[in-house]
């Protein structure tokens, strides 16, 4: 969580400074507890984690190298996307980290297919695949079709709905009319859970349970975390449409601070240890950014400019 927060704060300040980051910066601030809890409960090499734009914390916890984020944001030619795609659109599909496309909902069926394939090959074992989605993303047809398909196939799919009350500027009441998004689970015949998405321990517990159910063959599991995005949709947005009353409510509390308070209270960490954690995260982030900054940008003259794996079939220019 801390590393993700520190990294994202740094990316945001690079964005504001201008120059190094072209395109947007999208933060997961306020959503780290929910995201990290999922990432921690999955294991890389076995499971699949299709994070979305606010899953920096979960991706790091799952095992995505921090350099993947910095390289993709800064467009390094050495990053997994080689400057072809940017910021949050990164991944390593062969390592259980599908690279999201922007169209919301589209990754759900992709994760289902990854699980299907493993099952068909007889090597699914007790792996699960997690697909993140926001409150807004649940309105897409792709989400519906993907989850329904996974339910029919009884695939070990975890749907993690981060209900941060807004889709960009659009509040829940313009997005859906059910009392709670978890009410959808029954309609798909999947098991559903609600959790306070700011509460790290509660999130860890609910994901642990849901994942163990999926591993045990009980089909898709839908976990809805209630939380608030502590910032704009992207760094270009000041989120002035979120009323102060919400921002200053219990709901608007910072999950990282809550986690730290909880750790201190329970004696799991001291103030010094937490400061050290922050400092080491800061160093890691600085190192990653320093390294990335020295790396080459993609060179249009060296680009292959072909979209097919089969080079013999590349259509002639013009």
């Amino acid at each position: 969580m801390t590393a993700a927060r520190v990294l994202e704060e740094k990316l945001a300040s690079l964005y504001r400074a201008g120059g190094r980051i072209v395109g947007g910066v999208y933060l997961g601030k306020g959503q780290e507890a929910f995201s990290v809890a999922l990432g921690l409960q999955l294991s890389k090499g076995r499971d699949i984690f299709a994070g979305l734009i606010r899953d920096q914390a979960g991706k790091l916890a799952f095992g995505e190298p921090m350099l993947d984020a910095t390289r993709t944001y800064l467009g390094s030619a050495l990053g997994p996307m080689r400057g072809r795609d940017g910021n949050i659109h990164r991944g390593r599909p062969k390592e259980g980290l599908p690279a999201m496309i922007s169209h919301l909902g589209s990754m759900v069926s992709v994760v289902a297919g990854m699980l299907m394939s493993r099952r068909l090959q007889g090597r699914l074992g007790d792996a699960v695949g997690a697909s993140a989605i926001g409150d807004g993303g649940t309105s897409t047809g792709a989400f519906h079709e993907g989850l329904n398909l996974a339910a029919v196939e009884k695939l070990p799919l975890i749907i993690a709905v981060a209900n941060n009350q807004y889709a960009y500027s659009t509040p829940n009441n313009r997005q859906f009319a059910c009392a709670n998004l978890v009410d959808r689970a029954k309609g798909y015949g999947v098991e559903g859970y609600e959790v306070d998405g700011k509460d790290l321990l509660a999130c860890l517990q609910v994901f642990q349970h849901a994942i163990s159910r999926a591993r045990a063959g009980h089909g898709p599991q839908m976990v809805v975390g209630s939380l608030l995005r502590l910032g704009g949709h992207g760094e270009h947005d000041d989120a002035s449409y979120i009323p102060d009353t919400i921002k200053h409510s219990e709901h608007g509390r910072d999950c990282l601070q809550l986690a730290e308070e909880c750790a201190l209270e329970r004696g799991w960490a001291t103030v010094t240890e937490l400061a050290a954690l922050r400092e080491s995260s800061q160093k890691e982030v600085d190192r990653a950014l320093a390294q990335t900054s020295r790396e080459p940008s993609p060179d249009p003259y060296k680009e292959s400019w072909r979209a097919l794996a089969t080079s013999a079939l590349v259509d002639e220019e013009k």
Binding site: I21, G23, G24, G75, S102, H103, W305
Partner: protein, 321 residues
């Protein structure tokens, strides 16, 4: 008063809402927030209940607009980015485009597509989809290149009885300014000579009109006079104006920002050679983006789409022929 291309789109929507009580606007984050690009800024306050936030449901957004049109409304749908209209594709090409032909009931909807590349936007926030929609019967596809056209073509689109795909270019949103809006303009379906010339014709639309004009300016220093035709509408195509230009110059380069296979440039060239083969002194050429998705990194992006420099290079080859 000076206004940008984006402000012109906002003003046209203001004017459409003001003039015609049947008009309403539907899209993601377009209400109080004013839209991802602020194309509907303040409109929800000025026209309460007529500028409505939608769920993230492009298929249903278009379907809803079609139903509303049947009942006499004049909906404008804003896609947050043209790229996301792929999710509403089925409703656009199979429901909106076929309604009049099948049932005799017109389908007056306007779908606004914030289109085209800007640096750092990557494969899913940069697309130009005019060629996809133009392939289908039953749609009108507009591609304004100027502040004036952004305003007048949008207003005309709202008045049209047919479904219009309005491809507005994001790169022009802030860059392009005009001092004032003219009170009248060419009708939908007419192309415009953006710059007269006699050595070669460049047919372009949307942002590529400006790259072409810059290319023409550069070549002028070498004594070439390049005529630039701004298509304005890619369906229908004003073949007459294009042919007349080719008749003057004998040489044709067609420039588009979308992918190279098929599309606007191929359609223009096929028409010109079918009807104006004898007018050509050299093989007509195309310049499009490269045949890969649109890259994120500005270095790659600039090499992926046509620019003044690559248009100049093409024109030099064409002029030498």
């Amino acid at each position: 008063m000076s206004l940008t291309y984006l402000e012109a789109i906002r003003e046209a929507q203001y004017e459409a809402l003001r003039r015609d009580p049947r008009v309403f606007i539907y899209g993601q984050d377009i209400g109080e927030f004013g839209g991802a690009f602020k194309a509907t800024k303040r409109l929800s306050a000025e026209f309460p209940g007529r500028v409505l936030d939608s769920p993230i449901s492009e298929d249903a957004m278009v379907g809803m607009a079609i139903g509303a049109a049947v009942e006499g409304s004049r909906p404008i749908v804003e896609m947050q980015f043209a790229d996301f209209s792929s999710v509403g594709f089925n409703q656009i090409v199979n429901q909106a485009a076929t309604l009049y032909w099948r049932t005799n009931v017109p389908c007056p909807i306007v779908i606004r597509l914030p289109s085209g590349g800007t640096p750092g936007s990557g494969p899913f926030h940069s697309q130009s989809m005019e060629s996809i929609y133009a392939h289908y019967p039953g749609l009108v596809i507009l591609t304004p290149a100027t502040v004036e056209d952004a305003y007048h073509l949008l207003l005309d689109a709202v008045e049209l009885e047919d479904p219009v795909i309005f491809c507005e270019h994001k790169f022009l949103y802030y860059h392009l300014k005009a001092d004032a809006l003219p009170t009248s303009t060419l009708p939908i379906g007419k192309a415009r000579i953006a710059r007269p010339g006699r050595h070669a014709t460049v047919v372009a639309y949307s942002a590529m009109v400006h790259e072409s004009i810059r290319a023409a300016e550069e070549l002028q220093q070498d004594g070439y006079q390049i005529e630039v035709v701004d298509m304005r509408s890619v369906k229908p195509i004003d073949t007459g104006t294009i042919l007349a230009s080719v008749a003057r110059t004998g040489r044709l380069l067609c420039v588009g920002e979308s992918f190279p296979w098929g599309g606007v440039t191929a359609e223009v060239i096929s028409r010109v050679v079918a009807d104006g083969f004898h007018l050509l002194d050299a093989p007509p050429q195309r310049l499009n983006s490269k045949d890969t998705p649109i890259p994120y990194h500005p270095n790659l992006w600039r090499a992926h789409r046509p620019t003044a420099a690559s248009i100049v290079a093409e024109l030099r080859k064409l002029l030498k022929f």
